[in-house]
Symmetry: C2
Subunit: 296 residues, 2 copies
């Protein structure tokens, strides 16, 4: 059955009936707005939106389950970057009338599965038709303690730079099935002073300069240290997007303790020191080949 | 200049540089997430997302300023329905590489102008390219006092039904330039007990049955009372979408006082009693011709 054969109300009814509600949700999907419990005032409210578009972020033949998973996990990866806890999500689906209802159902299954992994409640959303490719926008709301958030700013000259996991080649498979590093990020800010942090979505070659620019510093990379995935080359570790690993800056004094504790806490996830932050004036070879930039 | 001639980073930089920040914004657009002050716990957090798609919600020849205005005001109209105060917005723009940068700038001007009207801070967003039509998603976060929110549920048998303004014909012009009834809605819940409320976006003929269904009651309309715009017929007042007026149910005991106070407070905006809520079992002629339903 195609979308044009079911009404918007009936489709939303079907999809939203299965949404799990936390007890923090007073009024969920189906009304004009969602009403949820506000976090304590000692926290910041954390907001993020992201979207994926057919043909740009996934191929038409991609599994609907994977597409839903990715649509939810992308903004959650930004929560990892901020060391914040996600709580509520809104989902907007823009699809053609010819889309199979079964595909949409599977996609929502992926969205729900991803949300459940981090105890996120999907509390609302919209659907619209389009004559163009399918797109999904997900907005996520959550919180972070005022003394614990991370951002791209705050990196200091002399800081060591670390990345989690292995880089490059995500387009093969990982970009549809990754798990945002929220657990790792929360552990980091609980136990260490993280000066600056972000998630790698457009490739180290694009993202690291962003972190450096926001922190008003330069950087130096030890190319031979870059951890890359099997089957890809060092250039991919720099230029490929969609790694969704953490990149962060931490005082050199904390580096050794961090490496020791990390190995104990996350024995199956690599943590690699890839370089350091240097004064902007000292920048020599900190140009990296570019990652993916939209519209270009 | 076209979008493909400027990078995503440069475009975002340009657009986001002009965003006004309230003092409740700790970290705004440009980082992975936005950080803002949480509302007091005596309030609910209110969440809403909405989207508009070229060719569906606006024509390619529509003014970019109007398109931006409409994209922001649509979710704000849902805040009016909930009697909530909007505070923060996230904007996602999905556009072709061939879109004129000047068009996008004007569209953001419309978004900012609409946000400013209700003191909303645009704190983040995304851009993506698409081979298809342009679309804009706006997610809004705000709050409402726990003793003051309205929803579609809660209408009671015997309640009077009211609508603000005049219905029908919005597609001519108003759908791009309307002002959500937030001020009126806040005044209503401050001074009266509003049992159920919603904003009319898909047409009275579709929206009223939704309110009745959510409240588990039926309704009876006095067709001859329906307030419609000059130049349209009574059928348009029922079937046309995009009125963005308020529809609400209030105890008959409060009706007279409401009508008197309204005329004093909002002398230039019509308020009309259009019918009442009746038991579901008594439903006879409560079928209204349909409004606009997506995918059909």
């Amino acid at each position: 059955m195609k979308l044009r054969q079911v009404g918007e109300d009936r489709l939303l009814d079907q999809l939203l009936r299965r949404l799990p509600f936390g007890k923090t949700v007073a009024l969920g999907a189906g009304d004009d707005c969602a009403l949820v419990a506000a976090p304590a005032r000692r926290n910041f409210l954390v907001l993020k939106t992201d979207c994926i578009v057919e043909g740009i972020h996934f191929l038409p033949r991609a599994s609907a389950l994977d597409v839903g998973w990715k649509a939810m996990m992308r903004p959650l990866s930004d929560f990892a970057a901020t060391s914040a806890l996600p709580q509520f999500a809104l989902v907007t689906l823009i699809a053609s009338k010819e889309t199979e209802v079964g595909w949409v159902r599977k996609c929502y299954h992926g969205l729900r599965k991803a949300a459940a992994r981090f105890k996120v409640s999907i509390v609302g959303g919209e659907t619209s038709s389009t004559p163009g490719p399918l797109s999904i926008s997900v907005s996520v709301v959550g919180f972070v303690e005022k003394n614990r958030w991370a951002s791209r700013r705050g990196g200091k000259v002399g800081d060591d730079l670390f990345v989690t996991g292995r880089l490059g080649g995500a387009i093969e498979r990982k970009h549809l099935q990754f798990v945002p590093r929220i657990v790792e990020s929360r552990w980091l800010t609980k136990n260490f002073s993280i000066h600056a942090m972000m998630d790698l979505s457009d490739g180290l070659g694009v993202d690291l300069p962003r972190l450096a620019r926001a922190s008003k510093v330069g950087f130096e990379i030890e190319i031979e240290c870059l951890p890359f995935n099997r089957g890809v080359k060092i250039g991919n570790a720099i230029a490929d997007g969609e790694d969704y690993e953490l990149l962060f800056a931490i005082s050199r004094r904390q580096s050794k303790r961090l490496e020791r504790s990390w190995r104990k806490k996350f024995p199956r996830l690599l943590l690699t020191r890839i370089g350091s932050l240097i004064p902007q004036s000292a920048v020599r070879n900190s140009q990296l080949p570019g990652g993916y930039v939209h519209f270009q």
